[in-house]
Symmetry: C2
Subunit: 394 residues, 2 copies
């Protein structure tokens, strides 16, 4: 069970957020976008009766064992033919079945020659409609195949290409996400570094985690631990973004300027600290225009877990998704009996046998353990890890 106290805070934050607007784009460019309209089938599917097999289209009344003349061939993509009485039409899989046909006899049950066919199976074994896929049996014209607020991932996108009646589609605008990494200790990749400084991993993690979503646009910047610069960066981002993610500077320490700076920039803090491990200092706020603001703690594991567990859910809401992302329940078995009085997100790897294993970690700064993991499970307070657990894959 997820912790209801935490869900309440997340829901409270969600209720203050502004969902992005919509726009009309070319449907062919809509892969990976979020629908802002229902997709209704522009015609029946199949759109005519088609054959499920290679064989011969016949009337049942002609199934008296006689040889039938073959009066035509219906390949996939050809126009339907008429079936004269006492004759057969040769049909290929996907080819249109003549309107008069009552069954398709598969080739294997026929003795074929160029101009005629002999049906080898007894009349009694042939069912009305056999091997015919009837017009509309999958979908009726006008039926909704994709609801508004859906991600056009590969299958629904292929469906849109099949069923849309228009060449344009209404989608939610891309979510503009600002990322601000705070911390005097952070050095960008490729720059000279001292032993007491650290390479910034949070920026690359967040940017790349979001880059796989075509419905997102990100901008990233880095700010030193300075009150004015932090507030300025927050204001600047809020003027351009729907979502603002910050890392670091969110605890109670003297150099933690994020909470105050958010308030000064017009943000309304909805929660600060939740009973989770790692990631406890997380801060959730709304901007002056209903923007989502999340202050994530600075340690790499805290960022990764709170981003995946909370930020993505909230960002999906802002993006127009109608549905929560369902998270698979999986069985975790381990001899590890540790417990925490917090909701504990523990790193796991997905083994070659398809089962989960705990990944040991030295703590929230241990990036090496993060690399070894495929995601994490959510362990309720005061519970051991073994059990049926929500598996959040990275």
């Amino acid at each position: 069970m997820n912790n209801p106290l935490i869900s309440t805070k997340i829901d409270q934050l969600k209720s203050g957020l502004r969902v992005v607007g919509t726009e009309s784009i070319a449907a062919i460019e809509s892969f990976g976008r979020v629908t802002a309209q229902n997709i209704n089938a522009f015609r029946d599917s199949p759109s005519t009766d088609v054959s499920a097999m290679d064989g011969y289209a016949v009337r049942l009344s002609d199934m008296d064992g006689n040889v039938l003349p073959v009066t035509g061939t219906a390949t996939a993509g050809s126009a339907p033919l008429q079936l004269p009485p006492k004759s057969a039409i040769r049909v290929f899989t996907g080819g249109p079945v003549p309107p008069q046909a009552e069954a398709v006899i598969q080739r294997e049950d026929c003795q074929e020659s160029t101009f005629q066919v002999k049906i080898l199976v007894p009349k009694e074994s042939i069912a009305l409609g056999q091997n015919i896929r009837r017009q509309g049996e999958n979908v009726r014209a006008g039926a909704t195949v994709t609801q508004t607020g859906s991600l056009l991932s590969a299958c629904p996108f292929a469906g849109a290409m099949t069923f849309l009646s228009t060449t344009a589609i209404e989608v939610f605008k891309k979510v503009r996400i600002g990322i601000i990494n705070t911390g005097d200790e952070l050095i960008e990749f490729g720059q000279p570094i001292e032993s007491w400084q650290i390479r910034d991993s949070n920026g690359p993690f967040l940017e790349s985690s979001l880059a796989i979503h075509p419905w997102v646009h990100t901008e990233r910047s880095t700010v030193s631990d300075n009150r004015d610069r932090t507030e300025h960066a927050i204001r600047n981002n809020l003027s351009q973004c729907d979502v603002l993610l910050l890392t670091g500077g969110v605890s109670m320490g003297d150099t933690d300027y994020v909470p105050d700076s958010i308030r000064s920039a017009g943000g309304k803090v909805v929660f600060h600290r939740i009973a989770i491990r790692p990631g406890r200092p997380i801060l959730g706020a709304t901007g002056p225009e209903g923007q989502l603001i999340l202050g994530l703690p600075g340690n790499p594991l805290s960022v990764a877990v709170t981003f995946r567990r909370y930020a993505m859910e909230l960002i999906r809401h802002v993006a127009g998704f109608a549905r929560f992302e369902p998270v698979p329940l999986m069985q975790l078995d381990t001899s590890d009996t540790k417990i925490s009085d917090l909701t504990w997100f523990r790193l796991v790897s997905l083994r070659d046998d398809g089962r989960l294993s705990l990944v040991s970690s030295q703590g929230s700064g241990d990036i090496a353990s993060l690399i070894q993991s495929d995601g994490f499970v959510e362990i309720p307070p005061n519970s051991q890890a073994t059990g049926t657990r929500s598996f959040y894959a990275w």
Copy 2:
């Protein structure tokens, strides 16, 4: 259990394939690529002793209850300070701990004033090394954090940004994948269409399924059911691609030109038809230079399932992946008792509660059922659906 006969065929095909070459690229551009080198930590992590808390760095021998002068402040990103005897250094989380310090006392256990601090906890309760993250405790310099043949998804990419000693990285070249959709009945989206024609959904499905992988490059074309044109298209693709995916035309029918065309173009057929539903007519072959050639059956569900189940495994091999993609095992419970004598891939949706449900389908042409699904499970021959099943998410 996966069907061992099918695995044997796939392994046989795999053994004849050429893995793509490697190239050196800017590491900062390597997100989503496949490593062709180990990534070894260029320094210890942490790279110096750092504090896990906001507090005061002290010697244990000074813990006699006296007030200690505070001789400096170590913020994250500042150079380490020296700790004179009988004094304390104020440290922030992530800040460097003086080499002489033996413990960090958290702020909450101190009475603080501007120039001095009184430690409130008894000496006996303070452990050596308390709240100090020791240099190298996560990773030792030189240790491998990511093996060759790994995907640089978000966590390993962030790890690369943390641990790489160079600004360039050796990766496998992008896999060049040609997609050929065959079928006279296929009409591209946006073109006028008759009732006996169908919109091509396989091209959009394959293109978009592959588009999410930064380690792939795709080119797509459509060919009518014509022997010469099919062979020409195959030859043309083989001259430029590492992988060739075809849809349709792979059965035994008279208009199924794909198997013969592959042979004429120099392909060596390794298998044709495997005991699966849907997708039985699937053909696997190798090209003259060890290219992967897969002829997928033309129905949308057959394409989706065989692509996800077999093509992706083989393409990952060509791409340089060292590891199979692990597929999560999940419990499926259903009252549906149908069985098949084939390995049966059945569509499922992931419900809001994190469990799987079967999605009913009218057959392999039923795109609407595909859209409703989140993936499929693999049911062994002659088995009911209920059980612990491999869940292939789209």
